[in-house]
Symmetry: C2
Subunit: 270 residues, 2 copies
């Protein structure tokens, strides 16, 4: 067993592939875990995917993603909540460990950051009963502060844990090293996350980074001390291994088979 | 008087210009403050610049920049400290309100973030006696977390204030709305900064942002609620107005005269 624990392949890492192709690749490369994005899951058909993932014996470490609650008007916010309800059903259908939440940025044209944060809180409160009923853990993922305007007003692990405190049972955090590695308060907050880590994602911060979203590195390509953060997670009770989630124009341009080989060979850097 | 208080022009906002040109532009446009970067200051000659700035009646809101302490070896760290000593002398010579500190990122090839933070602390301790003797306030500027790897391991206002607590007299913080606007702990930390704000810088966060360093917007071009953050600064005792510091490939490509007109007309957005 790799010291980093079992590997899980997030489907966006091999974006050119359909979900059936990712499932086959996991079997072919001995990768025991998978984490699909909803677009490829829906393209395959949720029931079909659930059966094939189960037949392949794959562990579903998460479903990406719910969230995106803030919207400029009430209809938009209601639509987001409805969509999150569907995401909960999908996560339940495929037996995902959690539904990963990318909470959303500022509504179009807004500068009201406290208001957007309130919309996130309200959205989470609205969907929590369904999530609990379905046994789907809501995993709040703090996203790097550089995504605050357009992707996530939830920016730090401390903020995510405050929300978990407020929401209670059925919630946890998804820790992605890319989003939290810079945080001067990380060690303290990771300890505070004890028993509440619902997902652990890895990739790397490249120097230089040339795009705010699509220039992540494979583990070992950048400057994040991934094993140090994994050790914090394990000290907080995490034993679920590492999910490799790489959003990268550079790697998406490669043959996905090459990318999967790189991912498995770089498991040791996690 | 503009409600945002007096305006100061940071020389990098009009990067194509020499310091004499910026000094003339301030007079021409009725801008009472200036904040030079060291490269243009040295190109003009420090004594000559000091005299011309004084003769023009300009208030020097800061000198950019000291810092950049982490280095891969002891010689590199010693050289950084020496360079900071020269920066202190320059800040004193031009009567700057403060020396703005961009503390530095990870040393080349390093993933040791706690180690880099220690190098920053050691560097600051080393230069503080000279700064105090010269009456130059050391203004710690937390930089956006997206610059952690290569520019500043000092990422949050809270972390900067912790350092001020440790360093004591002669230190303060430079608050740039671009670097802190996303922080869920901002309001609390701004209150904690009471009496310790040594500089207040404005620009804006554009959506989308296409470069991690050189794609800042002029006030009003983006999503930062600048007046809300200025109000927090004023509640914490700040009365020094706003320094406009725009690092932007887009605006650097324009005639600087146009940029200065834009800056003055956008004073109202601050």
């Amino acid at each position: 067993m790799n010291p980093a624990g079992p590997l899980s392949l997030n489907t966006i890492t091999v974006k050119p592939w359909s979900l059936p192709q990712v499932i086959e690749a996991c079997a072919r490369h001995g990768i025991p875990g998978i984490s699909p994005w909803r677009d490829v899951l829906q393209a395959m058909g949720v029931d079909n995917a659930a059966r094939r993932i189960r037949d392949a014996g794959l562990h579903v470490t998460g479903l990406c993603r719910g969230g995106m609650f803030p919207a400029a008007d009430a209809a938009g916010r209601a639509a987001a909540i409805e969509d999150n309800r569907r995401a909960i059903a999908e996560a339940h259908a495929i037996g995902a460990d959690c539904l990963v939440m990318v909470c959303g940025g500022l509504p179009e044209g807004s500068k009201d950051l406290p208001g957007a944060r309130d919309m996130v809180r309200e959205g989470l409160h609205a969907i929590l009963p369904e999530a609990r009923a379905a046994g789907v853990t809501i995993a709040l993922e703090p996203l790097h502060p550089m995504t605050c305007a357009d992707r996530s007003v939830l920016s730090t692990l401390g903020q995510a844990l405050d929300l978990c405190d407020e929401l209670g049972e059925g919630t946890g955090v998804a820790v992605d090293v890319y989003h939290v590695w810079w945080d001067p308060d990380l060690e303290r907050q990771m300890a505070r996350a004890k028993g509440r880590i619902a997902g652990f994602h890895v990739c790397d911060w490249k120097v230089p980074t040339t795009d705010l979203v699509f220039d992540r590195g494979l583990p070992g390509e950048g400057v994040i001390d991934i094993p140090a953060i994994r050790a914090m997670a394990e000290a907080a009770g995490w034993g679920g291994g590492v999910e490799v989630e790489i959003l990268s124009n550079r790697w998406w341009a490669e043959d996905p088979e090459t990318v999967v080989r790189e991912v498995t060979s770089r498991h040791a850097y996690c």
